[in-house]
Protein backbone atom coordinates (compact mmCIF):
# COMPACT_ATOMS: atom_id res chain seq x y z
CA UNK A 1 0.00 0.00 0.00
CA UNK A 2 2.98 2.30 0.49
CA UNK A 3 3.13 4.05 -2.82
CA UNK A 4 2.38 7.22 -4.67
CA UNK A 5 -0.15 6.70 -7.41
CA UNK A 6 -0.48 9.29 -10.12
CA UNK A 7 -3.64 8.82 -12.12
CA UNK A 8 -4.46 10.70 -15.28
CA UNK A 9 -2.69 13.89 -14.21
CA UNK A 10 -2.84 16.76 -16.70
CA UNK A 11 -1.73 20.33 -16.25
CA UNK A 12 -2.44 23.22 -18.53
CA UNK A 13 -0.53 26.51 -18.39
CA UNK A 14 -2.34 28.92 -20.72
CA UNK A 15 -2.46 27.14 -24.04
CA UNK A 16 0.28 24.71 -23.19
CA UNK A 17 -0.23 21.25 -21.76
CA UNK A 18 2.74 20.85 -19.44
CA UNK A 19 1.53 17.36 -18.55
CA UNK A 20 -1.02 15.27 -20.33
CA UNK A 21 -2.66 12.26 -18.80
CA UNK A 22 0.23 10.97 -16.72
CA UNK A 23 -0.19 7.56 -15.10
CA UNK A 24 2.63 6.56 -12.83
CA UNK A 25 3.38 4.75 -9.58
CA UNK A 26 6.23 5.27 -7.20
CA UNK A 27 6.57 2.02 -5.29
CA UNK A 28 7.95 1.37 -1.85
CA UNK A 29 11.73 1.39 -1.28
CA UNK A 30 12.98 2.07 -4.76
CA UNK A 31 15.24 4.72 -6.25
CA UNK A 32 13.74 6.30 -9.34
CA UNK A 33 15.31 8.55 -11.92
CA UNK A 34 12.94 11.12 -13.40
CA UNK A 35 14.55 12.28 -16.59
CA UNK A 36 13.50 14.68 -19.28
CA UNK A 37 14.78 17.64 -21.19
CA UNK A 38 14.31 21.20 -20.00
CA UNK A 39 10.62 22.01 -19.90
CA UNK A 40 9.54 18.39 -20.23
CA UNK A 41 7.33 18.67 -17.13
CA UNK A 42 9.45 17.05 -14.40
CA UNK A 43 9.21 19.87 -11.87
CA UNK A 44 5.54 20.41 -12.66
CA UNK A 45 4.86 16.77 -11.86
CA UNK A 46 6.81 16.89 -8.59
CA UNK A 47 5.05 20.09 -7.59
CA UNK A 48 1.67 18.56 -8.30
CA UNK A 49 2.47 15.46 -6.23
CA UNK A 50 3.33 17.64 -3.25
CA UNK A 51 0.33 19.89 -3.73
CA UNK A 52 2.45 22.98 -4.48
CA UNK A 53 0.41 23.51 -7.63
CA UNK A 54 -2.90 22.02 -8.68
CA UNK A 55 -3.44 19.67 -11.56
CA UNK A 56 -5.98 20.58 -14.22
CA UNK A 57 -7.30 17.04 -13.93
CA UNK A 58 -6.43 13.69 -12.48
CA UNK A 59 -5.48 12.67 -8.97
CA UNK A 60 -2.52 11.81 -6.79
CA UNK A 61 -2.88 9.22 -4.05
CA UNK A 62 -0.31 8.74 -1.30
CA UNK A 63 -0.63 5.40 0.47
CA UNK A 64 -4.16 5.19 -0.88
CA UNK A 65 -5.25 8.64 0.28
CA UNK A 66 -6.09 11.49 -2.05
CA UNK A 67 -3.21 13.93 -1.62
CA UNK A 68 -4.93 17.18 -2.54
CA UNK A 69 -5.02 19.48 0.50
CA UNK A 70 -4.39 16.44 2.65
CA UNK A 71 -1.68 17.07 5.23
CA UNK A 72 -2.05 13.59 6.63
CA UNK A 73 -1.09 12.06 3.30
CA UNK A 74 1.49 14.69 2.38
CA UNK A 75 3.45 14.44 5.59
CA UNK A 76 4.84 11.24 4.06
CA UNK A 77 6.29 13.14 1.11
CA UNK A 78 9.17 15.59 1.06
CA UNK A 79 10.10 17.65 -1.98
CA UNK A 80 13.52 19.19 -2.29
CA UNK A 81 12.61 21.89 -4.72
CA UNK A 82 14.96 23.26 -7.31
CA UNK A 83 13.77 26.74 -6.34
CA UNK A 84 14.46 28.24 -2.97
CA UNK A 85 11.37 28.69 -0.83
CA UNK A 86 13.29 29.43 2.37
CA UNK A 87 13.51 33.01 3.70
CA UNK A 88 16.63 34.65 2.30
CA UNK A 89 17.66 36.15 5.61
CA UNK A 90 17.40 32.99 7.61
CA UNK A 91 20.49 31.19 8.80
CA UNK A 92 20.92 27.54 7.84
CA UNK A 93 21.07 26.69 11.56
CA UNK A 94 17.61 28.23 11.98
CA UNK A 95 16.25 26.40 8.94
CA UNK A 96 17.39 23.13 10.50
CA UNK A 97 15.58 24.15 13.70
CA UNK A 98 12.38 24.95 11.79
CA UNK A 99 12.64 21.69 9.86
CA UNK A 100 12.61 19.96 13.24
CA UNK A 101 9.44 21.88 14.15
CA UNK A 102 7.66 20.74 10.99
CA UNK A 103 9.11 17.23 10.96
CA UNK A 104 9.64 16.20 14.60
CA UNK A 105 11.69 13.21 13.45
CA UNK A 106 14.17 15.47 11.66
CA UNK A 107 17.61 14.11 12.58
CA UNK A 108 19.48 17.18 13.79
CA UNK A 109 22.71 15.34 14.60
CA UNK A 110 22.78 13.77 11.16
CA UNK A 111 22.08 17.14 9.51
CA UNK A 112 24.89 18.84 11.42
CA UNK A 113 27.20 15.98 10.60
CA UNK A 114 26.39 16.27 6.87
CA UNK A 115 26.97 20.03 7.02
CA UNK A 116 30.49 19.32 8.30
CA UNK A 117 31.07 16.71 5.59
CA UNK A 118 30.02 19.15 2.87
CA UNK A 119 31.86 22.04 4.50
CA UNK A 120 28.63 24.03 4.86
CA UNK A 121 28.78 26.83 7.40
CA UNK A 122 25.39 26.65 9.13
CA UNK A 123 25.79 30.17 10.48
CA UNK A 124 25.50 31.56 6.97
CA UNK A 125 22.25 32.99 5.68
CA UNK A 126 20.46 31.54 2.67
CA UNK A 127 21.24 34.64 0.56
CA UNK A 128 24.97 34.28 1.28
CA UNK A 129 25.21 30.80 -0.23
CA UNK A 130 26.59 29.97 -3.68
CA UNK A 131 24.44 27.95 -6.09
CA UNK A 132 26.22 24.77 -5.01
CA UNK A 133 25.72 25.36 -1.31
CA UNK A 134 22.08 26.33 -1.87
CA UNK A 135 21.62 22.84 -3.27
CA UNK A 136 23.68 21.32 -0.48
CA UNK A 137 21.65 22.71 2.41
CA UNK A 138 18.45 21.52 0.74
CA UNK A 139 19.98 18.07 0.15
CA UNK A 140 20.91 17.88 3.82
CA UNK A 141 17.37 18.68 4.92
CA UNK A 142 15.92 16.15 2.47
CA UNK A 143 18.19 13.39 3.76
CA UNK A 144 17.46 14.25 7.39
CA UNK A 145 13.66 14.20 7.32
CA UNK A 146 12.15 10.83 8.22
CA UNK A 147 9.56 10.54 5.45
CA UNK A 148 8.65 7.64 3.16
CA UNK A 149 8.94 9.49 -0.12
CA UNK A 150 11.78 11.86 -0.92
CA UNK A 151 11.52 13.77 -4.17
CA UNK A 152 14.73 15.49 -5.24
CA UNK A 153 14.39 18.06 -8.00
CA UNK A 154 17.82 18.72 -9.49
CA UNK A 155 19.69 17.86 -6.28
CA UNK A 156 23.18 18.26 -7.74
CA UNK A 157 22.60 21.65 -9.36
CA UNK A 158 25.82 23.64 -9.04
CA UNK A 159 27.65 20.96 -7.06
CA UNK A 160 31.30 20.34 -7.93
CA UNK A 161 32.52 16.83 -8.76
CA UNK A 162 33.66 16.11 -5.19
CA UNK A 163 30.36 17.17 -3.69
CA UNK A 164 28.37 15.21 -6.26
CA UNK A 165 30.43 12.14 -5.41
CA UNK A 166 29.78 12.70 -1.71
CA UNK A 167 26.07 13.21 -2.37
CA UNK A 168 25.64 9.91 -4.25
CA UNK A 169 27.53 8.02 -1.54
CA UNK A 170 25.46 9.58 1.24
CA UNK A 171 22.26 8.96 -0.67
CA UNK A 172 22.99 5.25 -1.10
CA UNK A 173 24.13 4.90 2.49
CA UNK A 174 21.06 6.74 3.75
CA UNK A 175 18.78 4.62 1.56
CA UNK A 176 20.33 1.40 2.87
CA UNK A 177 20.06 2.40 6.48
CA UNK A 178 16.58 3.76 6.07
CA UNK A 179 14.96 2.24 2.97
CA UNK A 180 12.34 4.45 1.37
CA UNK A 181 11.31 5.76 -2.00
CA UNK A 182 13.60 8.28 -3.60
CA UNK A 183 12.87 10.09 -6.84
CA UNK A 184 15.73 12.00 -8.43
CA UNK A 185 15.10 14.42 -11.23
CA UNK A 186 18.35 15.31 -12.96
CA UNK A 187 20.12 16.11 -16.19
CA UNK A 188 23.31 14.31 -15.20
CA UNK A 189 22.15 10.98 -16.52
CA UNK A 190 25.45 9.18 -16.60
CA UNK A 191 26.01 9.86 -12.93
CA UNK A 192 22.69 8.49 -11.76
CA UNK A 193 22.35 5.64 -14.23
CA UNK A 194 23.84 3.12 -11.80
CA UNK A 195 22.26 4.62 -8.72
CA UNK A 196 18.65 4.42 -9.90
CA UNK A 197 16.72 1.20 -10.26
CA UNK A 198 13.85 2.44 -12.39
CA UNK A 199 13.80 5.16 -14.96
CA UNK A 200 10.98 7.41 -16.03
CA UNK A 201 11.56 9.51 -19.12
CA UNK A 202 9.17 12.39 -19.75
CA UNK A 203 8.93 14.12 -23.08
CA UNK A 204 6.54 16.95 -23.88
CA UNK A 205 4.44 16.23 -20.81
CA UNK A 206 4.02 12.53 -21.60
CA UNK A 207 5.73 9.43 -20.29
CA UNK A 208 8.05 7.98 -22.87
CA UNK A 209 9.63 5.21 -20.83
CA UNK A 210 8.88 3.77 -17.42
CA UNK A 211 10.84 0.64 -16.64
CA UNK A 212 13.92 -0.70 -14.89
CA UNK A 213 17.23 0.61 -16.17
CA UNK A 214 18.49 -2.91 -16.64
CA UNK A 215 15.47 -3.84 -18.73
CA UNK A 216 15.75 -0.73 -20.85
CA UNK A 217 19.45 -1.20 -21.54
CA UNK A 218 19.05 -4.88 -22.29
CA UNK A 219 16.66 -4.05 -25.09
CA UNK A 220 19.42 -3.03 -27.42
CA UNK A 221 23.10 -2.65 -28.07
CA UNK A 222 25.47 -0.44 -29.99
CA UNK A 223 27.83 -1.48 -32.76
CA UNK A 224 30.86 0.32 -34.15
CA UNK A 225 33.04 -0.34 -37.14
CA UNK A 226 33.69 0.76 -40.69
CA UNK A 227 30.72 2.45 -42.35
CA UNK A 228 30.36 -0.32 -44.92
CA UNK A 229 30.47 -3.09 -42.34
CA UNK A 230 27.97 -1.33 -40.08
CA UNK A 231 25.60 -0.51 -42.93
CA UNK A 232 25.69 -4.12 -43.94
CA UNK A 233 25.17 -5.35 -40.38
CA UNK A 234 22.24 -3.09 -39.50
CA UNK A 235 20.24 -3.76 -42.64
CA UNK A 236 16.85 -5.07 -41.63
CA UNK A 237 17.45 -4.29 -37.95
CA UNK A 238 15.60 -1.79 -35.77
CA UNK A 239 18.10 1.07 -35.74
CA UNK A 240 17.40 3.97 -33.41
CA UNK A 241 20.46 6.05 -34.20
CA UNK A 242 23.50 6.29 -36.38
CA UNK A 243 26.64 8.37 -35.97
CA UNK A 244 29.33 8.75 -38.58
CA UNK A 245 32.83 9.92 -37.90
CA UNK A 246 34.98 9.85 -40.98
CA UNK A 247 34.78 6.30 -42.23
CA UNK A 248 33.70 5.05 -38.83
CA UNK A 249 30.13 4.44 -37.94
CA UNK A 250 28.32 3.75 -34.69
CA UNK A 251 24.74 2.57 -34.54
CA UNK A 252 22.31 1.88 -31.72
CA UNK A 253 20.10 -1.06 -32.45
CA UNK A 254 17.04 -2.36 -30.62
CA UNK A 255 16.69 -6.09 -30.25
CA UNK A 256 18.76 -9.01 -29.07
CA UNK A 257 22.15 -9.68 -30.55
CA UNK A 258 23.35 -13.11 -31.60
CA UNK A 259 26.91 -13.11 -30.27
CA UNK A 260 27.94 -15.86 -32.66
CA UNK A 261 26.91 -13.82 -35.69
CA UNK A 262 29.12 -10.77 -35.25
CA UNK A 263 31.14 -10.11 -38.39
CA UNK A 264 34.82 -9.37 -38.04
CA UNK A 265 35.75 -5.76 -37.52
CA UNK A 266 32.55 -4.88 -35.67
CA UNK A 267 32.71 -4.01 -32.03
CA UNK A 268 29.63 -4.54 -29.90
CA UNK A 269 28.92 -2.52 -26.78
CA UNK A 270 26.05 -2.19 -24.39
CA UNK A 271 23.67 0.73 -24.75
CA UNK A 272 24.54 3.78 -22.82
CA UNK A 273 21.66 5.36 -20.91
CA UNK A 274 22.67 8.89 -21.76
CA UNK A 275 23.04 8.20 -25.49
CA UNK A 276 19.75 6.36 -25.49
CA UNK A 277 18.10 9.26 -23.69
CA UNK A 278 19.43 11.74 -26.24
CA UNK A 279 18.12 9.63 -29.09
CA UNK A 280 14.72 9.13 -27.50
CA UNK A 281 14.19 12.75 -26.59
CA UNK A 282 15.61 14.50 -29.63
CA UNK A 283 12.98 16.36 -31.56
Amino acid sequence: MNKIEIKGISKQFGNVWALSDIDLNFEENKIYGLLGRNGAGKSTLLNIITNKIFASSGEVRVNGENAIENDHALKNVFLMSEKNYYPNNMKIREIFKWSKEFYPGFDMDYANNLAIKFGLNINKRVKELSTGYSSIFKIIIALSVPVQFILLDEPVLGLDANHRDLFYRLLIENYQQNPRTIVISTHLIEEVSNVIEDIIIIKDGKILKNESVEELLSKGYSVAGSAAAIDDFITGKNVISCDSFGGLKTACVLGKIDKTQIPQGIEVNKLDLQKLFIQLTNV
Binding site: I172, Q176, V195
Partner: protein
Protein backbone atom coordinates in the same frame (compact mmCIF):
# COMPACT_ATOMS: atom_id res chain seq x y z
CA UNK B 1 38.86 -2.66 -7.38
CA UNK B 2 36.85 -0.54 -9.72
CA UNK B 3 33.86 -0.85 -11.97
CA UNK B 4 34.23 0.00 -15.59
CA UNK B 5 30.92 1.54 -16.58
CA UNK B 6 31.95 1.39 -20.24
CA UNK B 7 32.37 -2.36 -19.97
CA UNK B 8 29.90 -4.36 -21.99
CA UNK B 9 29.13 -6.68 -19.08
CA UNK B 10 26.38 -5.79 -16.62
CA UNK B 11 27.56 -4.03 -13.44
CA UNK B 12 26.42 -6.85 -11.15
CA UNK B 13 28.61 -9.34 -13.04
CA UNK B 14 31.56 -6.97 -12.68
CA UNK B 15 30.91 -6.69 -8.94
CA UNK B 16 30.96 -10.45 -8.50
CA UNK B 17 34.13 -10.75 -10.59
CA UNK B 18 35.81 -7.99 -8.61
CA UNK B 19 35.11 -9.82 -5.38
CA UNK B 20 36.42 -13.05 -6.95
CA UNK B 21 39.58 -11.21 -8.01
CA UNK B 22 40.05 -9.96 -4.47
CA UNK B 23 39.67 -13.51 -3.17
CA UNK B 24 42.16 -14.84 -5.74
CA UNK B 25 44.69 -12.15 -4.90
CA UNK B 26 44.39 -12.91 -1.21
CA UNK B 27 42.94 -9.53 -0.31
CA UNK B 28 39.88 -11.41 1.00
CA UNK B 29 41.06 -14.61 2.71
CA UNK B 30 38.93 -17.70 3.10
CA UNK B 31 36.72 -17.50 6.19
CA UNK B 32 37.34 -13.77 6.44
CA UNK B 33 34.58 -11.17 6.27
CA UNK B 34 34.06 -9.18 3.08
CA UNK B 35 32.47 -5.70 2.77
CA UNK B 36 28.70 -5.53 3.18
CA UNK B 37 26.38 -4.80 0.27
CA UNK B 38 25.96 -1.32 1.73
CA UNK B 39 29.70 -0.74 1.63
CA UNK B 40 29.89 -2.15 -1.89
CA UNK B 41 27.06 -0.01 -3.23
CA UNK B 42 28.36 3.15 -1.54
CA UNK B 43 31.89 2.48 -2.74
CA UNK B 44 30.86 1.96 -6.36
CA UNK B 45 27.95 4.40 -6.20
CA UNK B 46 25.56 1.80 -7.52
CA UNK B 47 22.03 0.85 -6.58
CA UNK B 48 21.99 -1.53 -3.59
CA UNK B 49 19.84 -3.96 -5.57
CA UNK B 50 22.63 -4.22 -8.15
CA UNK B 51 25.23 -4.86 -5.45
CA UNK B 52 23.00 -7.49 -3.89
CA UNK B 53 22.58 -9.19 -7.25
CA UNK B 54 26.36 -9.37 -7.70
CA UNK B 55 26.84 -10.77 -4.22
CA UNK B 56 24.05 -13.31 -4.64
CA UNK B 57 25.76 -14.88 -7.65
CA UNK B 58 28.69 -15.66 -5.37
CA UNK B 59 26.44 -16.97 -2.62
CA UNK B 60 24.68 -19.27 -5.11
CA UNK B 61 28.01 -20.57 -6.34
CA UNK B 62 29.23 -21.23 -2.81
CA UNK B 63 32.07 -18.71 -3.09
CA UNK B 64 30.82 -16.70 -0.15
CA UNK B 65 28.23 -17.35 2.53
CA UNK B 66 26.07 -15.15 4.71
CA UNK B 67 25.95 -15.23 8.47
CA UNK B 68 22.67 -13.79 9.62
CA UNK B 69 23.09 -10.43 11.30
CA UNK B 70 26.88 -10.57 11.03
CA UNK B 71 27.85 -10.32 7.39
CA UNK B 72 29.34 -12.17 4.47
CA UNK B 73 32.36 -14.45 4.56
CA UNK B 74 34.57 -16.17 2.02
CA UNK B 75 33.87 -19.91 1.93
CA UNK B 76 36.57 -22.45 2.52
CA UNK B 77 37.67 -23.74 -0.87
CA UNK B 78 36.59 -20.53 -2.63
CA UNK B 79 40.01 -19.97 -4.19
CA UNK B 80 39.98 -23.41 -5.73
CA UNK B 81 36.42 -23.00 -7.00
CA UNK B 82 37.18 -19.66 -8.61
CA UNK B 83 40.42 -20.94 -10.12
CA UNK B 84 38.64 -23.95 -11.65
CA UNK B 85 35.90 -21.76 -13.11
CA UNK B 86 38.33 -19.19 -14.45
CA UNK B 87 40.44 -21.90 -16.10
CA UNK B 88 37.36 -23.12 -17.90
CA UNK B 89 36.60 -19.59 -19.05
CA UNK B 90 40.17 -18.88 -20.05
CA UNK B 91 39.76 -20.10 -23.62
CA UNK B 92 36.59 -18.12 -24.17
CA UNK B 93 37.73 -14.95 -22.42
CA UNK B 94 41.30 -14.70 -23.62
CA UNK B 95 42.23 -17.10 -26.41
CA UNK B 96 39.34 -16.26 -28.70
CA UNK B 97 39.94 -12.54 -28.27
CA UNK B 98 43.67 -13.03 -28.73
CA UNK B 99 43.32 -14.96 -31.96
CA UNK B 100 40.75 -12.58 -33.40
CA UNK B 101 42.98 -9.57 -32.67
CA UNK B 102 45.96 -11.49 -34.06
CA UNK B 103 44.07 -12.16 -37.28
CA UNK B 104 43.22 -8.47 -37.55
CA UNK B 105 46.93 -7.65 -37.25
CA UNK B 106 47.91 -10.56 -39.48
CA UNK B 107 50.15 -12.02 -36.79
CA UNK B 108 51.12 -15.62 -37.45
CA UNK B 109 50.56 -18.44 -35.00
CA UNK B 110 54.33 -18.72 -34.54
CA UNK B 111 54.65 -15.01 -33.74
CA UNK B 112 51.91 -15.30 -31.11
CA UNK B 113 53.56 -18.31 -29.53
CA UNK B 114 56.89 -16.54 -29.25
CA UNK B 115 55.14 -13.53 -27.71
CA UNK B 116 53.49 -15.79 -25.15
CA UNK B 117 56.89 -17.32 -24.41
CA UNK B 118 58.48 -13.94 -23.89
CA UNK B 119 55.50 -12.94 -21.74
CA UNK B 120 56.16 -15.91 -19.47
CA UNK B 121 59.90 -15.25 -19.27
CA UNK B 122 59.35 -11.54 -18.49
CA UNK B 123 57.06 -12.55 -15.70
CA UNK B 124 59.79 -14.67 -14.20
CA UNK B 125 62.47 -11.98 -14.34
Amino acid sequence: MFVNFEDERPIFIQISENIEDAILSGAFLEESQIPSTTEISVNYKINPATALKGVNILVENGIIYKKRGIGMFVSTGAVEKITDKRKKQFYENYIIRLTSEAKKLQLSQQEIISMIESGFSNEQN
